[in-house]
Structure formats: C-alpha cells, structure tokens
Amino acid sequence: MVRILGFLVGLGFVGVAAWSLLWGVVAYIQEPPVETVEHRFHLHPHSEGFASDGPFGRFDRQQLQRGFQVYREVCAACHGLNQVAFRNLSELGYTEAEVRAIADQWPIQVPSINPDTGEAATRKAIPADRFPHPYPNETAARAANNNALPPDLSLIVKAREGGAPYIESLLVGYTDAATYRNEHGEALPAENRPGTGLYFNPYFANLNIAMPPPITADGQVTYADGTTATRQQMAHDVAAFLVWSAEPNLERRHQMGLAVVIFLLAATILAYLSYRNIWANAKRAVRLTGPLDPENMAKREAASREAGVNP
C-alpha cells in the first residue's frame, strides 16, 4: 500500500520536475543565457599577499600603523570603524599615551549631553570609547555622499568576497571607462558607462561604484616611519590594517590553533595505540573469559532457549 502510494507520489514529483525541465531546456535553446556585461568586464582581485595570510600568519605592526594612518587621513572622514575601540590601537604597538592622544584628538567627537542644559552635545573621545560614527545617522550620511552610504569599515574585509586582496585591488583599480579594454580587447558598452556620481572600477562587481577614487596620488599620506607612500603601498597598508580591524584576534587564533592541533595529534595517536591494544586479542583470537567462556556460553544458551529468545 505504502509502495503504491509512494510510487504515485514519486511519479508526480518526477513528472512535474520533468515538466519544468522541459520548459527550461526549451528556454535555454531558444534564448541561451548571455554573459552579462558585468561578468565580461569584472576583474578578479590580486595582491602580493599579506603578513597575516596562511595558517602561520602574523601581523606586521609597522604596516598596521601605516595602514591606520591611511585610514585616519583618507577614509575616516566618511567611513566609520565603530566595532573598534581606541584602546584596541595599543595592539598596533602604540603606547598608552599615544592611544590617549589619538582618542583625544580624533576629529569626530563622541555624542553626549550638555551637563547644564541637557541638549545633545559632543565630547572628546577617551580610549574606552569606540570610534564614533562620522555621521549622526544614515540619512545624514547619504545626504553628504550623493545618496550613497559609506559602509563602516570594521568588518569590511570579512564582509566582501575576495577579502583583503579585493579591498586593495579596488582602491587603486579605478580606470577611465572610455579607454578601458578587457582581456578580450572589448570596449565598455555605452549604457554601462558610469552616470553622474558613479566611477568606473572593474574590480567592483557592478563595475560602477559610488565612491570616488580615495587614493589618487603618490605621497598623499606622509608615512611617520618614512616608507615611500606609493598608491599601491597605501592601498596595501590600509587593507592590512582592515584585516586587523576585522580580526584583531587573528594571531592569538593561529597560535592557539597550532598548539591545539599538535595536542590533538598526540592525543589521537595515543588513542589509536590504546584502541589497537584493547582490540589486540579481539578480532583474531577470541578470549574465552567472561561471556565467551564455553561454560558460560553453554549456560547462556540454555537460558536463551528456556526464555525462548532467538539464539
């Protein structure tokens, strides 16, 4: 009964799926899917790699400080870093006094209230504060940026396919839409050229991004440690900094991981040896004690027969 009903239900689903399949195949033949313009012109991110890459990756603190400098001078006016607290910057190698100074001098202040009138006001940041949002709310952010919302950068590396290489490639990937040719030598169709308020960047999935090129010239930032600030260098450093802001515990995680995996390997090897030891006499040579003692077995078989249990 079950099988008959099941058979019919099965025929039903298979049949309806086949019906969808039929129309799908017909549509595929009549109108084969066309590669979208975005797909034809989109470039995959590339990067020379970061110090934090790989299972043994660590942070290059010098680089993180340079990256923070780029963030502060180029990005912070529009992009927040709200998940990070000023005190976290001590992990980059800054002293407590330096961290306090960074917080104190941060151009965007923390919302608070006027202690005398109770009106909304702002105050200077202390290390315990998180980086304040550059705009009071989303509406203000859009109003100031041509209706585009500059995303918070704390988690951007984990929030985008391609991660840090994508961020780095994107930052210096802007190019002229009119003269750009993809790998097949094709020019960008007119309707895909950026409209007002958009800029062509082949690393961006939709090709036209609302952010104007942020890193425009070599030397835009003068690094405190004297490193030459080429556009690529600045993009690379800020991407490395954003890896840290998304995953401040990366180093701890890698270190703990190595210890845990080594421990588990040792424990598993011991467990294996113990297992083989216990089973040493089990499969080949059946031990004749306890349940397998012939006398006990005879007793139990008698008991089974008496109880009517299937031997």
Partner: protein, 431 residues
C-alpha cells in the same frame, strides 16, 4: 537488555552500591554504554558517527549556553553583541567560531550517519523506530540551525529568514496566516528575533531527549552491523566498554582535529561574507543562500520553475518537505530481506549514484538560480525522488542478492588476514 550473555552490573565499591540501590543510574550507564551492552564485533568506522553526532550536540549546547550569557536579542544591538563576543569577551572568538563551525561539524557527521543507515539497511525491521526518531532529530536540527543563523542579524540572517518564512506563505489558504503567526509580524523583525532566540535555546534540549529515545530504541534489538546478519551468540559480540569506547575515543580524536583546523585556520570558509553586514530590510543581497547543509534541499526547492495545476512555488515547497518526509516511509518502501548494501550489488550502484546526486544538488543549491544550474537541479531532483519512490521499491522486489554469511563471527574471521599487529605485541599465530 536483550542479550542474555550481557555482563551484569555488580558494583564493588560501597558508594556505588549505595547509589545503585537507590537510583539505578550507574546500572543504566553500565548497560547502555558500559561493559553491559554487547555490540557486534565487526563494526567499521561508519559506526563511529552516531557518537560523533552526540559529541557535536554537547559542543553546541555548551558553547551556546556560554555565548547566551553575552548575546543580546534586540534587533538594534544583536549584531553588535556578536561582535562584542568576538572582540571583548574572554576567548569569545573561540566560542563563537567553535559554535558556528560546530554546527557544520554536526551536520557533516549526521549526514554520514544517515547515509550509513541507508546503505546498511539500518532502517529495516526491527529498527524502524530508531530510523524515524533519527529523522525527527534531523528535522529538529534543521529548525535549530535555521533559527540560530538568524540570531546574529546579518544580511543573510534577515534575508534567509525572509525567504524561508515566505515559503509558508505558498501554502494555499492557511499559508499567509501561518507566516504572520510564525513571524509575529509581516517581515522578520524584533518579534521574530526574540522568539527564534527562545526556541533556539530550547530545541537542542528537545533534541537531547529524542536522542535518548533514539538510543533506547536501538538498544532493544541492539546495534546493526555491516553484514546485516543478526547477532547469534556471544561469539558475535564484544562489550561496548572497553572496545567501542576506545574506538570512539580514537574516532573523536580524528574528528576533533578536522574541527580544530576549521575553527582555528579557516573559521569563515563555510560561512557567507554577507552575514558580516548588518541586516538591512531595504537592500537585498545579490544571491540569497542558506548555510551549506541546506543546499541540497534549497536546490530541490528552486528546481520547480513552471506552474502545473499548482503554482511552481508550492511545488517547490512540497518537494522540499517531501524529500525529507519520504524518508520516514523508507522501511516500508524497501522490503528487501537483505539489509546490507554489501550484499545487494544493484542497490549499491543506485546508492552511489544517489550520493553523487545529493552532492550535485548541494553544489547547485549554493549556486545562483541560473542556467545551467537549474536544469541540473531538475535532473538531480528527478533522480532523488525516483530513487526512493520508484527504483527502490521495484529493486527490492526483483534484485538478486549475494549470499549472506552464516554469522558475524564467520565473516569476521574471513576478513582478518590483513590486520597488522599492535605495537609491542607479536601477532598470535592463526589456527
């Protein structure tokens, strides 16, 4: 216990005797996972996965409870509270990554456990109840995982919730009211989030209860084995402790190494980048996909693209739920008296095609709903339903099976020659 030769619990220590007389819990443990539970001696490593699933459940409950001490189920601060766990809570990043990857681990071991059951005929009489309770556990796991994924309130959390609760809207007449009732509103919002948190905390304990029933139901007939031949006597079995506790300990070690590599070195590999973006009801992600363990079902859902009496969306929903519900009937669809696929050569072929089919469905489920993935999903869906509802019933009636061994011990001795000696022991001479 069902085996007359099983060791009896005889506590030597006066404290254990005292406890056992008043609350026979030590006895219960002894008889279920101790030396008092005889298990076929020929189990292979596919029998480790039930215990691994239990281990996964414990990991999820423990990490879940401690994270619940820090999580905030208010829609405005939920995302921040998860980041608070990641950045500020001591070892919080470890707990979060262990919980997220622990869910994937739980599903991997459960899927292998289920497919072991299908291959070796573990669902057949007298273990139908074990099989059905297992499916109940699977359904509870899916509900728990779905709600858990909503809690961080990222883009995928929100939009995944929107899509899946929207499926209920496809049901005729009662669909919309049920959807609104589930959500407590018209879209996933505060009401949905708090109730999902409550239920997500509750269901794992319901799962634990059903797991106890599942093991209890198993221990009545006792464990199956790779030959599918019943246990005939004490020569066919070994006490669970120490033999299988040792083997399960080793298996757990191997499994934990894989889990540790995931957690410590590639913690976001199985996740979706979009869930690190806070939920925005006004902005739909380019591709809404659930977590990988739902992908085969998601592919079946999206395979039905053309209306046929019923709307295509409804067919998709019916097929998706049907794909799991038909498994409840497996013991009655497949009436072959031979349990194990090792002795059913035709079945074996179709089985491995099914494995490939499910993997293909999974791949399509994680891909955009474009060609050629839709056509492939449709073909794969057809095979899935055909396998269980058409092929298997017919096959079980007409197939020619290989002769079964007379007993487990006979099969064990025949398969032993390749076994290496343990370290430090000279191999016993075979007689």
């Amino acid at each position: 216990m069902s085996f007359p030769w099983a060791e009896q619990y005889t506590p030597k220590h006066p404290l254990m005797q005292w406890i056992d007389q008043r609350l026979p819990l030590p006895r219960l443990v002894y008889n279920s996972v101790g030396s008092g539970y005889p298990v076929p001696r020929n189990l292979n490593y596919f029998w480790n996965f039930g215990v691994l699933a239990g281990l996964a459940l414990v990991i999820q409950i423990v990490t879940g409870i401690v994270m619940a001490m820090h999580y905030n189920s208010n829609a405005a601060t939920a995302f921040d509270s998860v980041e608070h766990v990641m950045r500020n809570v001591n070892s919080g990043w470890f707990l979060r990554y262990l919980h997220a990857n622990g869910a994937s681990f739980f599903f991997v071991v459960t899927y292998i456990h289920i497919f072991r059951g299908i291959y070796y005929g573990s669902y057949k009489a007298p273990r139908e109840m074990v099989w059905m309770l297992g499916l109940v556990i699977y359904l509870l796991m899916m509900a728990t995982a779905f709600m858990g994924y909503v809690l961080p309130w990222g883009q995928m959390s929100f939009w995944g919730a929107k899509v899946i609760t929207g499926l209920f809207g496809a049901l005729p007449l009662v669909g919309e009211p049920i959807q609104t009732w589930l959500l407590g509103g018209f879209a996933p919002d505060q009401a949905a989030l708090t109730r999902f948190f409550s239920l997500h905390y509750l269901l794992p304990f319901v799962i634990a209860g059903v797991v106890i029933l599942h093991i209890w139901a198993l221990h009545i007939p006792g464990s199956g084995n790779p030959t599918g031949v019943d246990v005939k006597g004490p020569q066919d079995t070994l006490p669970f402790h120490p033999y299988y506790t040792a083997k399960d300990g080793f298996g757990a070690g191997v499994a934990l190494i894989f889990l540790a590599i995931l957690v410590f070195f590639m913690p976001n590999a199985l996740g979706h980048a979009d869930n690190y973006i806070p939920a925005n009801p006004l902005s739909t992600p380019a591709h809404i996909v659930p977590e990988w363990y739902f992908w085969p079902l998601y592919a079946i859902l999206r395979a039905f693209t053309v209306d046929f009496i019923l709307p295509a969306k409804l067919w998709g929903v019916l097929a998706m739920f049907g794909a799991i519900l038909l498994l409840f009937f497996l013991p009655w669809l497949d009436k072959s008296p031979v349990r194990s696929g090792s002795y059913r050569p035709k079945f074996k072929i179709f089985f491995w095609i099914l494995i490939a089919d499910v993997l293909i469905l999974g791949y399509c489920g994680g891909s955009p709903a474009e060609e050629p993935y839709v056509i492939i999903s449709q073909l794969a869906t057809m095979y899935y339903f055909a396998f269980f509802l058409i092929i298997l019933p017919i096959l079980s009636m007409v197939e020619k099976t290989k002769p079964l061994p007379n007993s487990i011990s006979e099969s064990v001795l025949h398969g032993e020659k390749a076994e290496a000696a343990p370290i430090g022991v000279t191999p016993a001479a075979a007689q």
